[in-house]
Point group: C2
Chain length 587, copies 2
């Protein structure tokens, strides 16, 4: 060992001990007579001191130290003259008796500090240096702790971690697969798994009634912000359970995690809300319930006058921002511009101010009486001092706009504190979504999700109306996990494939092994998967999952540090019997 | 929950309780008046009973049950008339009051028993059924427990599990990579990692001084028996350590594992043996030291007479099989045939019997006197009753042949008990291997392995003679893990690439990021990686790693269950700008 102690552990109790530390030079301050060196490792920073009567050798080495040099130092723990209460080791320093440079460093391209001066791109290129910074170090340690806690909990609950293969089979359903050409089976390809879904279901067929895995998944999607082509999932499945069993098991896991890693105790039962309710009340299937400001439907009421905008609309919705009656024209204009952005696409925003003195002002005074507006306010729970914001259009557009507006107002009003956690379950999702373009149904979750048990008949007659036995775990407006009770009956599974437009042949080719397996005694089963990167960033109070991935890729799917992907040798392509075609027209 | 208890937990203490079980029908025995049903789940088997005065409904359902039906049953725990001490639940049975078929099963293609009647191929195709069998269930549970224990130990020792990317960069050095075409970067490819080697070294540069990961690795090799294209590694790295620090840390892990999962306590320090010694004494760098029978060099002694076979040989080696002087001609012929197989390639075997009465018989009586033979025997420690076997040729061939012969004899003599574990460390490997074909050096471990500190000068003058600071962990003749102290100096690393025949440009293209990283303060570091599949099979007392992988591939790299790899749609190829070339000439 190059050290007797880490750079984070020496305290006043260690006074007069001779210690050896190894780490990186964070900072050198040469004060003439004395030189102070901050030495850093994963565990913290310790101040080293070279005195006037230190040996010439030590003084000379100290003079030539630069930032990020790796040094090994032996010395005596002494009490500091001026203590630093902000540092855990701030009561002591180490008076150097031996100093050795283990490795030098050229000047790093950005500062290794809490807040770096490096831009995104340069920090990605030198990720190994960025990872030395405290915020990223904290993120990596949090991630480790969370993974460890998850395993502890699930192991205790009788779950087995079983590894499923990474080289599997391409299925056109769902997102695009990454494929891997096979050299031993020329012309054929493996695919990297988008999730171990079918394998975990097979494990249930095999009788491993409680399975989990913290596992990498892959999706070749055009990357939106904060999506990664490879991401990590906490993947779980149980047999002989219904929805409430799954929910209570993983509610337990979430509570354990909050307690173990954040020391946050959450109330005994998380709220459950149906998808229909979530959409109606929050305009979203992943509502942020840290605050109220729920959506209201005032379609009937608002169609009472001769206001063509409302009268021509399918749906009229309103939210009430508490205490915002004093918003200026400018503030309201900002909010209007916010909802009119193309991503949201509202046509406009109507406002009604319920002033403290009982006066009501609005942008639609011409069309509605104060009494009418007051009635709307009463329906929406507006009090004196509140601001009501209204938009109209198709129901979908209105819900989307008000959802976004609500979140924006929540942020502006400081109602979305990152240290407050509001978890909930959203249940009873629609089973299917109708796609106008392709004139067919798509599975809202995936084709293995079971219709609710009491709607099996409806599934035969009106599949679009059926609700799924599916559930999402949502915290602070973030969908952290989702799952469902699965179909375990091969006939029902066949029927589902048909509804989704699979021919028998297609279903057979892609999922034949699963349908076969279901014929040999598949137990009732269900499960859930959590986005682990997202879970970590939520716990860390960050909006970016990238900070919680040691070596992430950029928005073009590139690892700019190792410069990958890259071209490969022709010999490699030949061996795979592959040829690159011209891609001029695609660029 | 579909059950109140598992099928493995009811005991005499549960008498008279009403319980609900769910599981698979293992067996139905209809004895006329009574029907016995064995119900099975992951936890065990419980006997159910239908009596003469059970309801007609229950009787009717019981009559129609088949093997592997999934049933849910409620009933009362009663004491068995004839107890079965071989079953953990053998004191009780459950008298059925309700019986429900949750899912039926067609007849499985092989029996779900301790020993199945299915051949390898059919069991691979129906892996989900094979996984129901007790031996595979045990293997999966052992694997889970080992992974859990490894994480517990390493977490306690301050190691962080940090996930490294799976979509990385192809490097022609080492085994063949699996590559993944990139759609967003047309004409470019990711590669799947053969190990996270460079990333874990970067993490050391980043200051995460104790890293580990249980991680999938990929190698596109022509599959020898018991190799898998994807396999799992326990990957570890430490900073500010020398060889003995790494060895003692992971010796601790091994002991913890043996104790936690097998309840085997191992003596305090594992033997360490140099590679040179291992080769001389066992003919192998992964010796099985559960038994002695070491190799002896009798080159000098055996060249004393006019026996041309010996006189023309570079090396003459002998082993002594204790108590085997009574071996028949047939037995010795078998052993001779064994070493003459092409895989081993010895030219023959000379035998000398030291009989109990002092007589010496041998196949070379014509050339050597009894005194000469006795002298050899004395040198090799042969006693009365022992058999000495001798072979000659090049040193390499002799060591290989005697190594294999020793293992074969060890097996025949029952000296290789699978419940006995003999771990050791092999150290001081050669750094480089000379390849005659390509007239260049290859790294014996990999290009990042450090020469031994005291041989850095020799590395400049005679690299082929240098020993590496590398170590292997070997148990019972199986290489379970291997690692080394790494080069952390960019100049030395450059020199290594040169010795390995890399041009500056090649080194730059493939490992530029690592060489760059080393310029920013790389700490001294080293690590180790264990083959987790192999570790599991060793613990499970099996020679096959396949039994410890839930969904393994066959020797052609195929998953015959899901039928992968498979062809993909032309559209998918087009999107990747790839074309299949004719491969007629390659088939």
């Amino acid at each position: 060992m190059y050290r007797s102690n880490t750079c984070g552990e020496l305290r006043i109790e260690n006074l007069n001990q001779r210690v050896t530390l190894a780490g990186w030079v964070q900072k050198v301050r040469n004060l003439g007579a004395m030189t102070f060196i901050d030495i850093r490792d994963r565990y913290g920073i310790t101040q080293l001191v070279v005195e006037e009567n230190s040996s010439e050798e030590i003084k000379s080495i100290a003079t030539h130290l630069g930032r990020e040099f790796v040094i090994q130092v032996t010395g005596d723990v002494i009490e500091r003259a001026s203590k630093n209460s902000k540092m855990e080791t701030g009561d002591i320093e180490v008076l150097i008796t031996e100093l050795k440079v283990l490795n030098s460093s050229i000047t790093p391209p950005f500062t290794i500090e809490e807040n770096s001066d490096g831009g995104d791109e340069i920090r990605m290129k030198y990720r190994y240096l960025d990872l030395r910074r405290a915020p990223l170090k904290k993120a990596m340690i949090l991630r480790h702790k969370m993974a460890q806690s998850i395993r502890t909990y699930l192991d205790k609950e009788g779950f087995l971690e079983i590894e499923t293969p990474y080289l599997i089979k391409s299925t056109p359903e769902g997102a695009r697969d990454f494929v891997v050409p096979s050299r031993m089976n020329l012309g054929e390809f493996y695919a990297l798994p988008q999730s171990p879904q079918t394998f975990k279901q097979l494990l249930m067929v095999s009788g491993y009634d409680r399975y989990f895995q913290i596992v990498r998944c892959f999706r070749d999607e055009d990357l939106r912000a904060d999506r990664q082509p490879e991401f990590t999932q906490i993947d779980c499945e149980m047999s002989f359970v219904d929805r409430d069993d799954v929910i209570s098991t993983f509610e337990g896991m979430a509570k354990f995690l909050f307690k173990e890693t954040l020391d946050v105790t959450l109330e005994s039962t998380f709220p459950r809300i149906t998808w229909d309710d979530a959409m109606a009340r929050y305009g979203s299937d992943k509502p942020d319930i840290r605050f109220g400001m729920e959506l209201n439907d005032i379609t009937t009421e608002a169609k009472s006058a001769d206001f063509v905008v409302f009268n021509s609309a399918d749906h009229i919705g309103a939210i009430v921002a508490e205490g915002c009656a004093s918003y200026t024209r400018k503030q309201i204009d900002e909010l209007t511009a916010f909802v009119k952005r193309p991503q949201i696409g509202a046509t406009g925003l109507v406002w009604v101010k319920f002033e403290e003195d009982g006066n009501i002002k609005s942008s639609i005074d011409k069309f509605f009486t104060s009494d009418q507006l007051k009635a709307w306010g009463d329906k929406c729970g507006a009090k004196g001092g509140d601001l009501m914001l209204i938009t109209s259009g198709t129901r979908k557009k209105v819900l989307t706009a008000l959802c976004e507006l609500r979140l924006e107002l929540g942020s502006r009003l400081g109602l979305r504190d990152k240290s407050v956690f509001a978890p909930l379950w959203v249940v009873d999702f629609p089973l299917l979504e109708w796609d106008e373009d392709s004139q067919r149904f798509f599975a809202m979750h995936h084709p293995f999700t079971s219709p609710k048990q009491d709607q099996l008949e409806l599934f035969s007659t009106d599949p679009g109306a059926v609700k799924a036995d599916a559930y999402d775990f949502v915290v602070n407006g973030v969908e952290v996990g989702g799952g469902s009770i699965r179909i375990h009956d091969s006939e029902l599974q066949n029927k589902m494939f048909k509804v989704l437009g699979f021919t028998d042949e297609e279903a057979r080719k892609q999922f034949g092994f699963l349908m076969d397996a279901f014929q040999y005694g598949a137990p009732p089963h269900g499960g859930i998967a959590f986005g682990f990167d997202r879970f970590c960033s939520l716990f860390g109070g960050s909006d970016s999952i990238r900070d919680y991935i040691a070596f992430p890729k950029n928005n073009s799917g590139r690892d700019v540090m190792i410069d990958s992907p890259s071209t490969i040798a022709d010999a490699q392509l030949n061996e795979l019997c592959l040829e690159l075609t011209k891609n001029d027209d695609k660029e």
